[in-house]
Amino acid sequence: MPKVTIDGVTIEVPNGTTILEAARMIGPEVAPPTMCYYSKLETSGGYCRTCLVKVSQGSEKDPRPMPKPVASCRTQVMDGMVVENNTSPEIHEARAGVVEFLLANHPLDCPVCDQAGECHLQDLGYEHGKSETRFEFPRREFERKDIGDKIQLHMNRCILCYRCVKTADQVTDCRVHGVMNRGEVAEISTYIEKSIDNDFSGNVIDVCPVGALTDKTFRFQSRVWFTKPVDAHRDCVKCCGKVRLWYKGNEVLRVTARKDQWGEVESYDGKTGWICNTCRFDKKTTADWTIDGPSKISRHSVISANHYNSLKALKATIDRQKDALPHGEKVTLGHGALDPNNESK
């Protein structure tokens, strides 16, 4: 089993493990952020470039460093590999660049976006972004589209992570959407606007890291942080039936799959807990469900006002990194990122 050292922590992992998975095994302090990789989707990752890391030693056998930063989600570890993530100022710089690119054409319409509060791009922006944009041109615009009667596509917000394409490919029966056009004007589209119509299509909403694919039944109902997540289950013939209910008062506003600490749909006994459209869209009363208890959410964006687990971890890493830096150098952080009072006030 190869041994890899990431930000100074060494771990032994099974053959074929990626740097990212190895980092996740160590813990959130060293795990690079991901916008396109999704462990439950085959061939995902490699696109967004937020997970770039520096390989300062290729392996025991060939200790040369890799010439360029690599996408940790698509690079397998080699025995004796040494990886720098949070400890590399170069990587901080590169990641800030990627965040700037992801935001360059982003509409920044968080105030009216249903994803706000559970958006990976917001998190990423808080942690690695700058407070001002240097992009001064009109942002690209697409028409909003309905993909079937329950899902809405806001292409303006899409970061082309390909997760929904892969979900449609791998989780649903018949894929009718993909990427059209190329470059800056590439867009997610259903061919000839054909609606996606099958039992598992709703999962594209859960994999979308931003507010590009949203649940129309939840549209403008509430800010996410005013709703209370509760885990629940039911016997479902189509799916695992394990869900998260989002309450406002006694009302279930939204049903989603349960997500793990990386923001991915949970797995149960090695099977991904995708949920069917019946559970997601049609079971919106408490009576439909057996309640398991309040959900534990450890995301670092505004939603986790009461659960700042991951933030604490992040702070610990950065403190450690500060200590590791030569005297006098400073680490700059995204504004307010480390102030838990910032959002809970």
Partner: protein, 449 residues
């Protein structure tokens, strides 16, 4: 006269046809390969020749071939990259149009060496008429028993197909090419695995440029050692150069690697000097992707030595004062040309051609193009020039495929060597008319950054 290996018979009337090509010794090499050599021997000759990929990266061809995985019972493919879309590069078209059989012969010899029984030539959509020429040549070859079953009685079978792309630059990137060939969206694959392990339809595949494959013919004919005698150092053999821009005699030239740039530009044998008696301002030496160099650095290295047209010669000085041989697209610009305008044209190209898979390239190419447009039209600020520099540095080396680098390098090098011209545009805007004195005689004495 430099030695001509590929273009020797280019002016022979009717050389496009199989008959005339054979009269000039065509397909003798194939016969030699099939009847007197083993695939391993051919590979050895190619290794000995020192041939390096002519598609841009200059990777040693013999080494690439030796990486090809050979699992039992799995098909192997040779794919010829005829997508030639790099601005400033048109040598493959010339070769295929004028002397198509040298490519066909090279394909058969190379396929035999690699153990491929099906091979493809992937050609860009705009070259549809060249595709027809190739198809005719292939039909002639089938007719003459040079393709198909039991070629020349050797027991070796090969089918060769021409596939026309839809005219996307990105489909010249080898893995995007393979995707496109498989009938999918032309997105570059994330590597590894490399095509040598899992290429076309997941099978081991070699992708080589047109010129690379054509060069296999003279290598097998005269032996790798003879080929290695030509050229200089690790840049062996001859290279086709597509010369364009403000030259008296633009066109495709076959040069022996190691030719001094000065001789190439000014001698009567090659480009015959700068048009209208003007002065040379700058050269993009290897296709739009490589760094632009001001006249003094393209003619002489930073150390004052004559600069040579070879992989090492053009790269001398790294990116600070050197460039790359690339695909051999040699674009000369005279004293009246505007670097900023040229750069904008290039940037517009990369913006248009990015596949959009990875964020730095998708967003960065468009952003740079917009800033350049702004500067060119007189609305730029000095901060914009710094911003451009910063954006290109955040694209370079951080993308899935080298198109990101290809978009970043021209921007970086233009600013590195011609920053004062950008500043002049900022000050004067598009009213800038007489660009002459801003650079040719007034280029930065020391490159910045």
């Amino acid at each position: 006269m430099g030695k001509k290996l590929l273009l020797e018979h280019i002016d022979v009337p009717g050389i496009q046809s199989l008959n005339v090509y054979r009269q000039k010794g065509g397909y003798e090499t194939l016969k030699k390969a099939l009847t007197s050599m083993t695939p391993e021997q051919i590979l050895e000759e190619v290794k000995t020749s020192g041939l390096r990929g002519r598609g841009g990266a200059g990777f040693p061809t013999g080494l690439k071939w030796s990486f090809l995985a050979k699992p039992e019972g799995v098909a192997r493919y040779l794919v010829c990259n005829a997508d030639e879309s790099e601005p400033g590069t048109f040598k493959d078209r010339y070769l295929m149009e004028k002397i198509p059989h040298i490519l066909i012969e090279g394909m058969i010899v190379s396929s035999f060496a690699l153990g491929a029984n099906t091979s493809y030539i992937y050609i860009r959509g705009e070259y549809f008429y060249v595709a027809r020429i190739l198809e005719n040549a292939i039909a002639e070859a089938y007719e003459a028993g040079l393709l198909g079953k039991n070629i020349m009685g050797s027991g070796y079978d090969l089918d060769l197909y021409v596939q026309i792309g839809a005219g996307a630059y990105i489909c010249g990137e080898e893995t995007a090419l393979l995707e496109s060939l498989e009938g999918k969206r032309g997105n570059p694959r994330i590597k590894p695995p490399f095509p040598a392990i899992a290429g076309l339809y997941g099978c081991p595949t070699v992708v080589n440029n047109v010129e690379t494959i054509a060069a296999v013919v003279p290598i097998v004919k005269d032996g790798g050692a003879a080929y290695a005698q030509i050229g200089i150092g690790k840049s062996t053999g001859t290279k086709l150069i597509s010369a364009s821009g403000h030259l008296n005699k633009p066109g495709v030239y076959e040069i022996e690697l190691g030719l001094p740039v000065e001789e190439f530009i000014y001698s009567e044998e090659y480009c015959g000097g700068i048009k209208n008696g003007k002065q040379l301002k700058a050269v993009v030496a290897g296709g739009s992707s490589v760094p632009i160099l001001p006249a003094h650095l393209i003619l002489k290295t930073a150390a004052g030595e004559p600069r040579l047209m070879s992989y090492e010669g053009l790269a001398d000085g790294g990116f600070a004062t050197g460039t790359m041989l690339g695909s051999g697209g040699f674009i000369a610009m005279d004293e009246d040309s505007s670097i900023v305008k040229n750069l904008w044209t290039f940037s517009r190209f990369y913006h248009h051609e990015s596949c959009g898979q990875c964020s730095p390239c998708r967003e960065g190419t468009g952003w740079m193009e917009k800033i350049l447009h702004k500067i060119l039209h007189g609305h730029g600020t000095l901060a914009d020039v710094d911003l451009l520099w910063d954006i290109q540095s955040k694209i370079e080396g951080k993308t899935i495929c080298p198109l990101g680098d290809a978009a970043a390098w021209p921007v970086a090098s233009a600013i590195r060597h011609f920053r004062n011209e950008f500043e002049e545009y900022v000050k004067q805007g598009h009213s800038i008319k007489d660009v002459k004195h801003y650079y040719r005689l007034n280029h930065l004495p020391e490159p910045v950054n």
